[in-house]
Symmetry: C2
Subunit: 136 residues, 2 copies
Amino acid sequence: MLKIAKSVEYALFAIKYMSEKENKKCSSVAEISESQNIPFDLLAKIMQKLAKGGIILSTQGIKGGYVLNCRPEQISLNRLINILDKKIQFTNCMVDNPTTNDCHRVKNCCIRNPMQKIQNRLNELFDITTVHDLIQ
Amino acid sequence: MLKIAKSVEYALFAIKYMSEKENKKCSSVAEISESQNIPFDLLAKIMQKLAKGGIILSTQGIKGGYVLNCRPEQISLNRLINILDKKIQFTNCMVDNPTTNDCHRVKNCCIRNPMQKIQNRLNELFDITTVHDLIQ
DNA sequence: TTAATTCGGACTAAAAAAGTCGTATTTATG
DNA sequence: CATAAATACGACTTTTTTAGTCCGAATTAA
Ligand code: FES
Ligand code: FES
């Protein structure tokens, strides 16, 4: 089944929440988790990845939390997916230098090139789609 | 990870094999499985689905096997995916009449419409891509 | 000092995909 | 008619991936 990971879905709702927060106040994981019905621990991990990925800024300690570091218009779906360690990889040979370890057919794989082309189209689609497009 | 199911990959190789068979002779699962390095039992199930889906015709009994029932140009990737019981479903709410059972957010889900649009684009892509495009 | 918060890794559980097995049915051929 | 080689079909197991949980540490406002 070709599906978008739940973590990406959760990240979208979290970003939406933060983007609607008045005058750039930061939001705690607890706050987002409760209001958006997302498991706390899971969301905590997602937020840490978003912070590492530069999408949000964190403040530690009591009264800490997260703020958006850029506008949803500036975040592509593809970037979000990458930050959350998810991948678009149609076949095992869709990597830079595929070895027989990736797939034994690699030496003489007739589907590699055509598959790559479709995958590229999907990547383009995910590149031009912004988080803003998805949460408005 | 957005990936194409192995069964779809296997089906492509099987169809390629059958399409290259001279004068419409039928191919047994054993024959395809060995030449294409695909687990016998798994391929057997795939072939049965392809037969039910009308892509290939089966002949039972000794000297039986499968023949293509249409040309690879006439089979879209989407059709192949559907026949093999795989789905393109980005979120749980990407169904005809989503209930709160599919996802509790369904009543007021802001990502449903925009997600549906991207998913539609992917479906279009998979509709215009034929098996022939993938195995040449 | 304390309590609320992020940080980060290890772990478990659930779901999906991949693969295996057993038994029945079909049919060409000796 | 008996046999062997093939498909038919469903149940089952294993592996992989995703989702979710837990715990202890570090940070910091009050
Ligand atoms: S599918 Fe295996 S190498 Fe391309
Ligand atoms: S994501 Fe749950 S209803 Fe759309």
